[in-house]
Symmetry: C2
Amino acid sequence: MKIRQLFDYETWTYTYLLWDEDTKEAAAIDSVAEQVERDIQHIEELGLNVKYLLETHIHADHITGAGPIRKHTGAKIVVHKNSGSECADILAEEGDSFMLGQQSIRVLHTPGHTNNDITYQIDGAVFTGDTLLVRDCGRTDFQLGSNEAMYESLTEKLFKLSPDTLVFPAHDYKGFSQSTIGEEIEYNTRVGKGKSYEDFAVIMDNLNLPNPRKIDISVPGNMQCGNVA
Amino acid sequence: MKIRQLFDYETWTYTYLLWDEDTKEAAAIDSVAEQVERDIQHIEELGLNVKYLLETHIHADHITGAGPIRKHTGAKIVVHKNSGSECADILAEEGDSFMLGQQSIRVLHTPGHTNNDITYQIDGAVFTGDTLLVRDCGRTDFQLGSNEAMYESLTEKLFKLSPDTLVFPAHDYKGFSQSTIGEEIEYNTRVGKGKSYEDFAVIMDNLNLPNPRKIDISVPGNMQCGNVA
């Protein structure tokens, strides 16, 4: 599977294009409304046939580009069934998979940041949304986030994958683009080696983060797949 | 060869760590002074033995982190001989190569942005500095830059590489992280398909870019490998 990482500077969001080199069947993960023109041009230049627009969750910090890209490409929008989205084409759950040519993308339910987080897994790599970030993890204080669910998703699900699995997050704020499961088991500042659930919960309960600037338009906008005025 | 891309948000600069998985011998390309602490921590967490600090050119937009990282790791700083640098350990030229374990990094002289641009080539990928950017190229209007040299470096040297060669630039301003030679031959907005040298020169002569904000401290600072007060 070919992977192309794209970045939105305003919201520090990574968008990914994945494609099967033989058939050019493709998926986009976590597109951003403001970057739709760039992304569509890039999709066309790469000659990709986009079949799936995969959302890792209903985002609070940016509006998805999935709606406009669906309109342009005819691709199907995928979100987790817990989202309650009425605009998505596919409400996915643990164990589902999507094929690009002969290659599969598998759905892992990894809640904690919200109740509808999906990690998309391909051979050798995971796209972890706001669940696992490089040396970090997503916040748990809105959208039905949960410290318990986050800790379990990280330590009982993602950290059970092969240590050399590449990790591609939905955001980064320090200039990291990727990691591996092995590095995160060792060095993640919130749940890495030596951190108990109690340690983790103290960290998460004391982050004191302001709400994302765009949360009031992003969440309802994303429930409509970004098809907002 | 393993590749890790890192980003400096303030100057839109990509730094790269390359390493041989067997021996952990490593190189860093185009480090940034403000990110030295992050980079050294990352190098240590990855267990890397940094042998070379490779500069693609004497930068005008940021101060290199090579000096401080050399001090910490004992690695050798490499710049092109045309730079006139008195602090570098190795003044490289076309055809030189550096080994990380059994894997080699080869020097291509690709002037045009300055007179001392190096593209570092490994199997399957090139690190093109400010010569070839994604759909773009570096400016040619200071530091002995030259439209003629840039056009030749792009079309006669880089575009002769295998089309599937991955391209990793020193900067990006639109959220692209990589490209391929084949894409750039086709879609580069300055020298892609159908663009003559005359077309290219008109574009370059009309960019009307302001000087980089930090040029007055960056160029002399980088001539000292970033060892500035």
